[in-house]
């Protein structure tokens, strides 16, 4: 996609959907943020009007320090060989999100996974509460940043004698600089 066409499209999206934080990471990848209220229409428009017909994936980033989840919808335009990453920020505290299962057949699977791994609920998404990877999971959703895998492992499976682990950085310091007490940078 040439720069002029991309800029025209982004300008239009800015006016219509108030997109922000536009970043061109490389010639074939641009990302931006849009508010939840505009996101559903925007994604539909990108698919139907701008020919971003391929949903590469849908995922989430947990910004626990800001109290938000950033949902990422990666869309691809095969004709222009260009991908758009649409970020939608939502609250970490149980905010419900629109579903895109009517736009792509695989979207409900992503949404089912995000419900299980982050606890995000998608309105009317089919089979949302069916287990995806985890069976009988009774902890907090495991991909949330506050979920401590090591602590969970110790509590669930207990300590096994004969096993020890090192913090790699500290261990390697001692290995590399034994005469200096491992404090060499």
């Amino acid at each position: 996609m040439n720069e002029k066409t991309l800029n025209t499209m982004l300008e239009k999206l800015k006016q219509e959907f108030d997109i922000s934080d536009i970043v061109e990471h490389k010639p074939r990848l641009t990302t931006f943020t849009v508010s939840k209220q505009h996101a559903e229409t925007l994604i539909r428009e990108l698919r139907d009007r701008e020919a971003y017909t391929h949903l590469n994936f849908m995922t989430c980033i947990d910004y626990i320090e800001d109290g938000i989840f950033s949902l990422v919808y990666m869309l691809h335009n095969y004709g222009k060989k260009h991908s758009l990453g649409v970020h939608v920020n939502i609250s970490r505290n149980g905010e419900e999100v629109f579903s895109i299962h009517t736009l792509w057949a695989q979207a409900w699977t992503y949404q089912r996974e995000l419900r299980e791994m982050y606890g995000i609920r998608f309105t009317d998404s089919p089979r949302l509460d069916e287990d995806f990877c985890l069976e009988g999971w009774d902890q907090i959703p495991p991909m949330r940043r506050e979920f401590d895998t090591k602590k969970f492992s110790h509590e669930r499976f207990g300590h096994r004698e004969g096993r020890s682990s090192e913090v790699p950085r500290e261990h390697m310091k001692v290995q590399l600089y034994p005469n200096r007490g491992g404090d060499e940078e």
Partner: protein
């Protein structure tokens, strides 16, 4: 035993109907619920299909994953960049190399690291050898799913010859951990080129026999023709990629469309088919296996024989990747494989999302195509979509 997929009889509009099947009343005695997998010779790895049958016809299918879930994406958030490269190869057992390449490429892109020319070619060779090994395994699986066990013996023994090459090149047969951020771990050992060419010659000859025995076989044809027809209208709405899409005539291949590594210096065309059924997909993969052999030979002809294969790298103990975001992708044997990576400037990755083609092929597409199939054909259908569960559950 093959029955035409029910959806193919309902016209194009049905292709865009994403609705879930209505639950049936099992107590009526009219239906049977049957689990295929997770331990079953007719399933591709540790996953299972929950099938609802009316007679011997499937009227509902649900894919279940999770038997291999090790939380790779979560693990990667708690490990340093250099530690992660030993983790990523385990995400797709038959094709670990694509994970190694994409992880390394994403890190290099965010760090602004340029890899030497020789590393570019060695990576290309490594990826194509992986493609060949994976296709050989798949051909055996597809043939076995239709009850012909001679072909798997041939193809898997030749896959082992390719694994021998991997062992020489990387020191390992399955999890190579060869492609690392900054380049590759080693050059080629002495005499490798000749041995690789010998393997290519014998494999090519064997593929001729496979074509005669498997593709001209009346039983294979009877069971795969008309099985699991993918309507071309389903390609984008279902996110279908790779040979599954190309077999329907859709000419999309990342190696050509958005060339990476040395693919822009290799001579090849995108192979497409016109039969959208299991037979067409098998034929497509056979041709792509031959193309892969050709690309390996081209790599051996054109790659530089000396020069560095590693870029100068920062001290891995103190390695911080600048804050950024990227999505990198490559054409694996099943289509678009991608790594989405977000970094925050620390020693740890903020988020990695692994995009494998099986995510949609094994769930949305499989659940759709299975409806209307005969129970005896479900294994053949599943293998024909070429899916690996670990890349779904990550």
């Amino acid at each position: 035993m093959t029955s035409l997929n029910r959806h193919t009889l309902t016209g194009h509009s049905a292709a865009l109907d994403f609705s879930q099947p209505e639950p049936v009343d099992l107590s009526s005695g009219k239906y049977v619920k049957l689990w295929q997998g997770p331990q079953h010779p007719g399933i591709t790895g540790n996953m299972s299909l929950e099938l609802t049958l009316e007679g011997d016809t499937i009227i509902g299918c649900k894919t279940h994953v999770g038997y291999l879930h090790r939380g790779f994406e979560k693990l990667m958030e708690r490990r340093t960049f250099i530690q992660n490269f030993t983790v990523v190869c385990r995400i797709a057992v038959p094709e670990p190399t694509f994970n190694e390449y994409l992880y390394s490429h994403a890190v290099e892109e965010l760090s602004g690291i340029e890899i030497p020319d020789r590393a570019v070619w060695l990576r290309t060779l490594n990826l194509e050898l992986m493609r060949l090994a994976s296709f050989l395994m798949w051909i055996g699986g597809q043939s076995g799913a239709f009850g012909m066990y001679t072909v798997p013996n041939w193809t898997l023994s030749h896959r082992d010859f390719v694994l021998d090459l991997f062992e020489e090149m990387t020191g390992a047969r399955i999890y190579h951990m060869y492609i690392v951020p900054g380049g590759v771990r080693a050059g080629l050992p002495e005499g490798f080129e000749k041995r690789a060419r010998d393997v290519m010659d014998s494999t090519e000859k064997m593929l001729g026999q496979v074509e005669r025995v498997m593709f001209n076989n009346a039983v294979t044809k009877a069971r795969s023709r008309g099985l699991g027809i993918i309507d071309p209208e389903m390609i984008d709405p279902y996110g279908i990629v790779g040979p599954n899409a190309r077999a329907c005539g859709v000419a999309r291949d990342l190696r050509k469309d958005e060339p990476y590594l040395a693919y822009d210096q290799l001579d090849f065309d995108i192979i497409t088919g016109h039969d959208c059924d299991a037979y067409g997909r098998a034929w497509q993969r056979l041709q792509e296996t031959r193309q892969s052999i050709d690309l390996i030979r081209q790599c051996l002809d054109r790659m530089p024989v000396d020069g560095p294969f590693q870029a100068d790298m920062p001290n891995v103990l103190h390695w911080k990747v600048p804050a950024g975001e990227t999505y990198v992708k490559a054409e694996c044997t099943r289509g678009e494989y991608g790594y989405y990576m977000v970094t925050d400037g620390s020693e740890y990755v903020r988020r990695v999302h692994v995009r494998g083609p099986s995510y949609t092929h094994a769930i949305a597409v499989m659940e759709r195509l299975a409806v209307g199939c005969n129970i005896a054909d479900i294994a053949g259908l599943m293998v024909s979509l070429h899916t690996y569960p670990p890349e779904i559950e990550r």
